[in-house]
């Protein structure tokens, strides 16, 4: 019997789910697993016991918090899909503001009718078995995790920084050009698309297991304002341990 898979989303852009559909191996994936719940991808969905549930997005309402708990109860494995689920993502910018003020700014006089909570990344709400990092994830990362699970292996983390991907593409280091970049402290495996296009890494894959944040900050302070540095780490993985501190202004 094929493993039963569910793909859910919370508050997000659905970009990571689109990346799943973008996978060149999607036909093989559909042959290998039975997708029983995938709101974005199919019309007929059902709740039952899932072998694996992928969850994209951040929980920012009490309904979403309940949904997350329900998913956990129904699933043998829960995998956080993308930066929002793993680290709060863009939506977690709220966490650094006064929530009422932020609501009034966005919704004006309707603010009181809208429920918004401070964002908790998935691992702070339920037990998460594995994370697929990135904003968005790459189809290859999804394929790798599915392949590993079908082979009965624990999915491997790519343990190297963005810089190893970046330099393998023979880019000149942006830090050497005076552009603040989070590459040295961020999980790689993305293939460094941002620095390869001249844009700095914004740390979307989250902080490395062991990162040299004080050395990184010492460098950044020479080329960027405190505001810029705070913004850099607040962007995509703001609730991740070391990024949270810097994003919160502690530097």
């Amino acid at each position: 019997m094929r493993p039963k898979v569910a793909i859910f989303d919370l508050t997000d852009c659905e970009g990571c789910e689109v990346q799943i559909v973008n996978s060149k191996l999607i036909d093989k994936v559909l042959e290998g697993v039975e997708i029983v719940h995938f709101r974005l991808g199919q019309r007929v969905n059902r709740w039952e016991k899932f072998d694996v549930a992928f969850v994209e997005g951040a929980a920012i309402t009490s309904d979403e918090l309940e949904l997350v708990k329900k998913i956990r109860e129904h699933s043998k494995l829960v995998i956080a899909l993308g930066s929002c689920a793993c680290f709060g993502g863009i939506a977690a910018i709220n966490n650094f503001m006064d929530l009422d003020e932020a609501k009034r700014y966005v919704y004006g006089e309707n603010a009181d009718k809208i429920e918004v909570l401070y964002v908790k990344p998935l691992p702070e709400i339920i037990k998460v078995d594995f994370m697929i990092r990135g904003c968005p994830i790459t189809p290859e990362d999804f394929e790798r995790v599915v392949s590993d699970l079908l082979a009965g292996r624990i999915p491997r983390e790519h343990t190297r920084p963005v810089c190893i991907d970046c330099k393998s593409k023979e880019n000149i280091c942006l830090l050497l050009k005076g552009i603040p970049c989070a590459g040295p402290v961020t999980y790689g495996g993305c293939g460094a698309p941002c620095p390869s296009a001249g844009m700095p890494c914004d740390g979307c894959r989250g902080p490395l297991e062991e990162l040299q944040m004080s050395a990184e900050l010492e460098l950044l302070k020479k080329i960027a304002t405190k505001e810029d540095i705070v913004r850099l780490f607040r962007k995509y993985a703001p609730m991740a341990s070391m990024f949270k501190e810097v994003g919160g202004g502690k530097l």
């Binding site: 191996l25 093989k28 994936v29 042959e31 290998g32 394929e143 790798r144 599915v146 392949s147 590993d148 079908l150 082979a151 009965g152 491997r156 343990t159 190297r160 920084p161 810089c163 190893i164 330099k167 393998s168 023979e170 000149i172 280091c173 830090l175 050497l176 590459g183 040295p184 402290v185 490395l208 297991e209 062991e210 990162l211 040299q212 004080s214 050395a215 990184e216 010492e218 460098l219």
Partner: protein, 326 residues
């Protein structure tokens, strides 16, 4: 030993290039933005022979970033031995000698060896820059890592063949018939910071707890830029990848770095070099102590890339200098 050279006029380099490109995939320095990279070239007009250094060294063709080494399925496995014929056209002596030093480690590696056996290396004169320290690393002399070396002389080049492959080339008619004899071919220049390799080697173990390791590790980002651009850093990881169905897949060898926490971690979670300080020092003990013990030369050719490309401005020469390597 006397070296016998034969003159080739600048305008004849194109004929040499065309000749080589008939048989080989030619890799030569080309311009990329403000910088230079080694890349496959089809036309001699794209080749830049006067360049300071390339971003990545030639190892990217010998030990690629992510290389499939065998395919497997339920029946067994199939070795994926490369069969490409590569010719480097215009390597500096440091880079050519780095290949010579990689040979010491990888000669019995079937994937490396397959490329190496089919390979042609044509070296060319360079103009040392202030980050160069090949003299200190004893990598400034012509060795048989080059099949052929083109020494710039006025408006001509003198071609020195070091192997049978090289001798075949210099017998071609675009080389002038008369020979030039020299004792040796060496790049001579004033190094910005000259190091005594013998003292460095000795001090590295004596200075195991020198504060320089703490100071430098504090600045180090562990970003791996230095090891990636190093022509001799070859730390790798091996990963198996299946493609959705577990019945078949590929095993890859891909670049890794001993500066990373995961590199020295073993089954059960123990890590032999838990602190960055220990990992940082390991780069040096390997390059300037254990490699010399094993092979008689350092695992460094003084190309200066680690100095140029370090975002934290760490200068390997200064670290060695502080260990008393004057």
């Amino acid at each position: 030993m006397t070296l016998m050279g034969k003159i080739i006029k600048k305008e004849n380099l194109k004929r040499l290039f065309d000749d080589v490109s008939r048989e080989f995939k030619v890799i030569a320095p080309v311009k990329k933005g403000e910088d230079y990279v080694l890349s496959e070239v089809e036309s001699f007009s794209d080749v830049v022979l006067d360049y300071p250094t390339t971003i990545l060294p030639p190892k990217k063709f010998l030990l690629p970033y992510k290389e499939p080494i065998f395919a497997f399925d339920a029946e067994g496995f199939k070795d994926l031995i490369p069969d490409e014929k590569i010719a480097f056209f215009g390597l500096h002596l440091c880079d050519a000698n780095a290949i010579g030093r990689l040979d010491l480690v990888f000669w019995n590696d079937p994937y490396y060896r397959a490329r190496r056996d089919r390979m042609l290396i044509i070296g060319i004169s360079c103009k040392p820059t202030e980050t160069c320290f090949c003299k200190s690393m004893k990598a400034n002399s012509l060795t048989n890592a080059c099949d052929l070396f083109l020494l710039a002389k006025d408006d001509k080049y003198i071609g020195f063949s070091m192997t049978e492959k090289g001798r075949k080339i210099v017998s071609q008619l675009y080389f002038e018939p008369e020979t030039v004899n020299v004792e040796e071919v060496k790049i001579e220049y004033e190094e910005k910071l000259s190091l005594n390799l013998y003292k460095v080697e000795r001090k590295i173990l004596e200075d195991y707890n020198n504060p320089v390791w703490d100071e430098t590790a504090k600045k180090c980002l562990a970003c791996t830029n230095c090891t990636v651009v190093c022509p001799l850093c070859y730390c790798f990881d091996v990963v198996d990848e299946t493609f959705i169905f577990p019945g078949e897949g590929l095993r890859f060898r891909c670049w890794d770095s001993c500066l990373l926490l995961s590199f020295a971690r073993v089954a059960g979670g123990h890590n032999f070099r838990r602190d960055l300080k220990a990992r940082y020092r390991n780069v040096y003990t390997h390059k300037f102590k254990t490699y010399i013990d094993e092979f008689g030369v350092p695992s460094c050719v003084g190309c200066g890339r680690c100095i140029i490309f370090c975002p934290a401005n760490i200068d390997m020469r200064e670290v060695l200098f502080k260990l008393g390597g004057v």
